[in-house]
Subunit: 292 residues, 2 copies
């Protein structure tokens, strides 16, 4: 696959997902309109849509129909968007900038931001139930989002402020905080297809674990090195908040090396899957080589 065709595919999926999210989110004409406006503000018009991209790429491995992938993509992106809205609240990271725009509680107010996050989480499960339609998939997403997944990772993150964690603890935190939902995106996308043998699922699980960690390592490097303008969110925040990161544990150069190793692991996991997995392979490269 050429770089140009991968870029074209990314653009197609991103625009397809934008439309699907626009349909799933209630219209501002529907009451309560201010809440619906704020939900649309939080979700639409920005974001790399990495989790949807992973879902669509994993769907290619199992031959999944695009309509079911739309539902999975919306579900994982809505969970991700809700977590950002709540994470930016004053009682959490207290941030004012996200995806290049004022955060929801700045643009609206704190109470609205709280309800936006709450309602986006409900909507994620509704979208999944509506369009992808299997209760095992609901269970997988619920576990990934909950206290033994993403929300649990946030709690570990809170407790870690001001501490220097050892590498295994840092990894434990990120497997929950970022890794769980990335893994869910891959496995749910895969689950949408007619051909989902267990060995393939196991390979995608190993792939997702490596990509999830690589994503976080690169995130830490970018937070330390890139500018706020490039990131569309406040840069240098981790250090100021005294959060343990891969950069604080390993330094930038060894963090970059670790991301490279994880990219290798992700590719290795896909080895036997052939061209069905070429988008997943390209996404591993995208995650590690991205500049924002």
């Amino acid at each position: 696959m050429t770089e140009a065709s991968f870029q074209a595919w990314m653009g197609e999926v991103q625009s397809r997902v934008e439309s699907a999210l626009g349909r799933v989110l209630p219209s501002v004409q529907v009451a309560p309109s201010r809440l619906h406006e704020a939900m649309r503000y939080a979700v639409l018009g920005a974001g790399k849509r990495l989790r949807p991209l992973l879902a669509f790429a994993a769907g290619e491995v199992s031959g999944a129909p695009l309509e079911r992938l739309d539902a999975v993509a919306c579900a994982v992106e809505l969970i991700h968007a809700y977590s950002l809205v709540h994470d930016d609240l004053p009682c959490m990271d207290d941030d004012v900038l996200r995806r290049g725009k004022p955060t929801v509680h700045v643009e609206y107010d704190e109470a609205t931001a709280l309800l936006v996050g709450d309602a986006l989480q409900s909507l994620a499960f509704q979208a999944l139930a509506d369009g992808a339609g299997h209760v095992d998939m609901v269970r997988l997403l619920a576990i990934a989002a909950g206290s033994r997944g993403m929300a649990g990772g946030q709690a570990i993150d809170l407790e870690a402020v001001g501490k220097q964690l050892a590498l295994p603890e840092l990894e434990f935190m990120h497997i929950h905080k970022t890794g769980a939902l990335i893994r869910a995106a891959v496995l749910l996308g895969f689950s949408c297809g007619p051909s989902t043998p267990e060995p393939d699922r196991g390979k995608l699980d190993r792939y997702a674990k490596a990509v999830g960690l690589a994503f976080q390592v690169v995130d830490d490097v970018l937070d330390a090195e890139a500018s706020t303008a490039t990131l569309g969110k406040t840069a240098g925040k981790d250090a100021r908040q005294g959060k343990p990161t891969y950069v604080s544990a390993l330094g930038v150069s060894r963090s970059r090396q670790m991301a490279e190793e994880l990219r290798g692991e992700a590719h290795a996991a896909l080895n036997d899957l052939g061209s069905r997995a070429s988008r997943l392979a390209a996404l591993a490269d995208f995650v590690v080589l991205r500049k924002f």
Copy 2:
């Protein structure tokens, strides 16, 4: 059904649901343990368990097995518990007392309370997917909890502070804020049984609408008249916060009369269902005649 046998049934269901919630909530031994401790603090050991009682009573109409009802009861109670935790936060109602104990953000901290609510919502969908297991039920709960249900009702409530609403607007607010989840409890409990003809579902829907509104009318009366000690939550809060209520719109005496009329509507909706619906009928009385 005698009052004593109804009381005994309530006690049995409450204790059954307490055990089921205790099993569904992660142990404090599981990491992140502080989050899991706070989740258990928010859910266990108190509460009338009205929504679980409604689910079990509705299950009697359709002959539902108790194990599936456990899952539905946990799911609706976890959604309810999450909404209380978030509703008590400083950016919402800013309350310090709930179910006779310090609220979660007072006992722990705001960030933990935020994550507790988030994780309880995920857990509700997990419990429903695990134990009751149909994707239509997931969809029903998601809609009831989301922006066109409970979370939407909270948003309408926020916008209404300081205003005097007309009765239809007040009803619109409460159909969302309290009614949606009460309706979900009834319909999900009913859905667990083998015998769920559409006409019966329609009757339960009418019943649930009347009980949901009656619950809120009585809540408003109790907030105005009962003591904090009796309620286990701060009394007189609505008036102090300038919230429109049935009491502010109608006065206490006409509010009581309205609750009585709604109790009549609830009973009328159950008319043809015979003894299968006797618990639901008794619960309508309980909701209207309760003192806390």
